[in-house]
Symmetry: none
Subunit: 420 residues, 2 copies
Amino acid sequence: MLAEIITIGDEILIGQIVDTNSAWMAQRLNETGIRVKQISSVSDDRQHILTAFAEARNRADVILITGGLGPTKDDITKKTLAEYFGVGFKLDEGALENVKKIFARYNRPLLDVNIKQAEVPENCEVLPNNNGTAPGMWFNHEGKIYVSMPGVPHEMQYLMQESVIPKLSAAFHLPKVIHQTILTAGEGESFLAERIADIEESLPPEVKLAYLPKLGQVRLRLSGYEDKEGQLAGQIAHYINLIVERVKNVVVTIGDIPIEKAIMDKLEARGETLSVAESCTGGYISHLMTQHPGSSAVFLGGAISYAYELKESMLGVKNETLWQFGAVSEETATEMVEGALLNFKSDYAIAVTGVAGPGGGTAEKPVGTVWIAAASKTNRIVKKFTFGSKRQQNIERAAITAFTLLNTLLTDSSKSGEIV
Amino acid sequence: MLAEIITIGDEILIGQIVDTNSAWMAQRLNETGIRVKQISSVSDDRQHILTAFAEARNRADVILITGGLGPTKDDITKKTLAEYFGVGFKLDEGALENVKKIFARYNRPLLDVNIKQAEVPENCEVLPNNNGTAPGMWFNHEGKIYVSMPGVPHEMQYLMQESVIPKLSAAFHLPKVIHQTILTAGEGESFLAERIADIEESLPPEVKLAYLPKLGQVRLRLSGYEDKEGQLAGQIAHYINLIVERVKNVVVTIGDIPIEKAIMDKLEARGETLSVAESCTGGYISHLMTQHPGSSAVFLGGAISYAYELKESMLGVKNETLWQFGAVSEETATEMVEGALLNFKSDYAIAVTGVAGPGGGTAEKPVGTVWIAAASKTNRIVKKFTFGSKRQQNIERAAITAFTLLNTLLTDSSKSGEIV
């Protein structure tokens, strides 16, 4: 079962908005066992839309269309759908009631253009939209299903969850899709590939392995489709175990979640807390954690000690350490992480100090030089890294690497009592 | 001049990543005078990629391709391009040098798969990629231009800025586009539109005004195309001045830069410094500032006081204030901002404390309730805001609003000596 997503609207093509709808829809469709064959973004142009429909029909069984259903003149999706199917329009009483109800709720007069939103192509089955005035529209035409939805994310999401996914599940005998992801950190894609080359070779044809590298992490994703439920899940679990066993020193978690979330989950399960001392990452590590609901169970807070003075006053880094070894040094990173543990009273702490760039580099400590420390009361890792010349990337890599070191510490914490 | 963007990779079609590359590319292309006709996301599948090339060729003059250039087996873009053009491969010495340099920098052995990254289709002109091992590739084939770039955002961006945009500008006679943007904060789109309605009416047809609203800010962009350079720039400057004069109380800056950058520029020009006390924004405000080069000239650092205890120990918020009024209160926000000024010795400080959600809300202080303070030694603004129910959006809006309050304080600082 293949689907194509067509988003209609000039705002995507001029880059004014990022299309987040398609990723959301693709996730829901994949969970349901429908593979997305293509995502196409096209302009508010009649001929262009007609061509997109015709091309999609040749590729997919289900064509999901978002956008272009507003009341203004530049919204032409509905008219173009009627032309494509060769039908006229009908007024849908249910859709009209919905429009009236919404206008009554906001105490607004009902205009002609608003009533027109309840007019739909004659061959359409209306999908009620509780979150907006434009109804969803379901078409069954020459063996293909077309669904048109508004581009407003929460309206589209409502329609997908309440109508489209249930109707698609009912209409087709859908194959089961299984994804399983291993999150690794601290080893490059090609080295990982070498380490598991024989496992990859031995995969049956129905199981696919993808390498998804990003900033010092590689996600290994096994996926496949099957008809008889259960068998493939077991097979994938088997290969997941083989891979994890092989590369366990760099495995953060099994599952497709961000590294900081995986680490917070581990800490929460152990009832332990974390604080930070951020210099060159400037709040990014804290932000990564606090973007997740429930982070306060693990994350206490910390210091953004950008200036020398704040490294001393907030973290107790010694003035002579800063002047003798510099802010970017093993000694300063060590005093920062120890200061965080002491002052913020957390079980674990991470500290980062480096030259993010583009300025501030020296021959001895060029841009990209970053010292990172992770520590508990009994264990500590302090390491120097040499990243690149791009500031934003240095910040992101330093943050991910800090979590990677903390992961090593958490994984090794059985052998506690030593400073590694 | 029409372009099509083709992104290749299953990770987009399963919804694992949101395609932010296309919007970024579309913006750059539009600024250059190239209109994006379609954006297509296709799978790592030979036949599908070939079909996408053939369809794009019929719609566009320039086909920009991202993704599928990694060293692993699932990356087949390069092989498919060679098949599409009917050519073999050549080893590019420059690309090989680049791969060697990168591996030397990280002290890693060079594997065969890495050397293969320097092999390119025979008809290709290599575009140097300083940020990664996969080179950009430029093809001129039967009157159409094809460009293949890695999908890693900063590698794609480097190639676009350094090679692709300059080469496209040189290859075609592109109309000159002039943009000028006013950044406003703290007033809604429709209110702004009412205030400048007569100016908008008086614009000549060749000058277009766009309202670009985002998270409490509205960017007003004047733009136009012209052949004879100079004349339109003067006209746009004239209307920019009219609009700024009219709505100056909400203007942050002239220029298309982020609000935190505009504020840091103002502070730097005045030789003044800033610190923060972040609770519910959890480091996001600090991150926004420190992502910009040179932020250390203005930004000293601050406290991520997520836990109660850290509000007391880092900022001197009184225990009885927290228990009597709660962490989310005018009193706590005030003590936080005063504590930041005192402890971190900055000229200005901002403080944020609120309920980001989804948990933690009460009847009296529902999710989205945020107290924000901005202060100098002589002025202070403390205000309550009620944002929405989405955590990430609440964090972003609180951060932008904190900068908006600080902008008001900076704009008003001529009338100092009073606590507003």
